[in-house]
């Protein structure tokens, strides 16, 4: 069974600074997807970024980028120029390759952004 581990229960960052959230996972499969979701107090899970395991290039979405290390089974999220609106729970998630499989989530990291 696949597992996802987020070892940082809480992180904090100063506004405009950069922060990195860690995620490791365990799988025996070679093809899969990895995701970072953001969950603000409204409870709505919002997709931040995704990575296909077969792609060597790290995904980037504006201020959000990942460091995907397939051999190490590591998938960290870097948030640049942090904004107050980035404050939320962040979840790392794994999904098997192919359509419509369940997501396996980590326990989450609570990010606080200090003004």
């Amino acid at each position: 069974a696949q597992t996802v581990t987020q070892s940082q229960p809480e992180m904090s960052v100063q506004e405009a600074e950069t922060v990195t959230l860690s995620c490791t996972y365990d799988t025996s499969e070679s093809d899969y997807y990895l995701f970072w979701y953001k969950q603000p107090p409204s409870r709505q899970m919002i997709l931040v970024i995704r990575q296909e395991a077969y792609k060597q290039q790290n995904a980037t979405e504006n201020r959000f980028s990942v460091n995907f290390q397939k051999a190490a089974k590591s998938f960290s999220l870097k948030i640049s120029d942090s904004q107050l609106g980035d404050a939320a729970m962040y979840f790392c998630a794994y999904r098997r390759w192919g359509s419509n499989y369940k997501l396996t989530f980590g326990k989450g990291t609570l990010l606080t952004v200090n003004p």
Binding site: M45, N100, G108
Partner: protein, 113 residues
């Protein structure tokens, strides 16, 4: 277009009662998922529908939990004889057949007293 909607937003019930939680997916999305998120945890998979049928119900914790999607759109998660341990946020997500992205609703917070 409209996102995934869930009703009610909050539900408080007494131990032993029956509850129904509703999910209305994004129009045209054939896949629908239910997850349960306990306090301080990440969401955990419950069940997945492809169309009207349950393609994977391996996450349902016991036979008190049941879900239906009779017309391939709206889904209802049903919990019988609720227990205090069922208290959690129940999240619904949907995706299209060709998509690898699940879109989530705002969840229903269930509290069992």
């Amino acid at each position: 277009g409209a996102g995934v909607s869930q009703t009610p937003s909050n539900k408080v019930t007494e131990k032993g009662k029956y509850v129904e939680l509703r999910c209305d997916p994004i129009s045209g999305h054939t896949a629908l998922y239910w997850y349960r998120q306990s306090l301080g945890q990440g969401p955990e998979f419950l069940i997945y529908f492809q169309g009207t049928g349950a393609a994977d119900d391996s996450g349902l914790p016991n036979d008190r939990f049941f879900a239906v999607r009779p017309e391939g759109s709206v889904s209802t998660l049903k919990i019988q004889r609720t227990e205090r341990g069922d208290s959690a946020v129940y999240l619904c997500a949907s995706s299209s057949l060709a998509s690898d992205t699940q879109y989530f609703g705002p969840g229903t917070r269930l509290t069992v007293l």
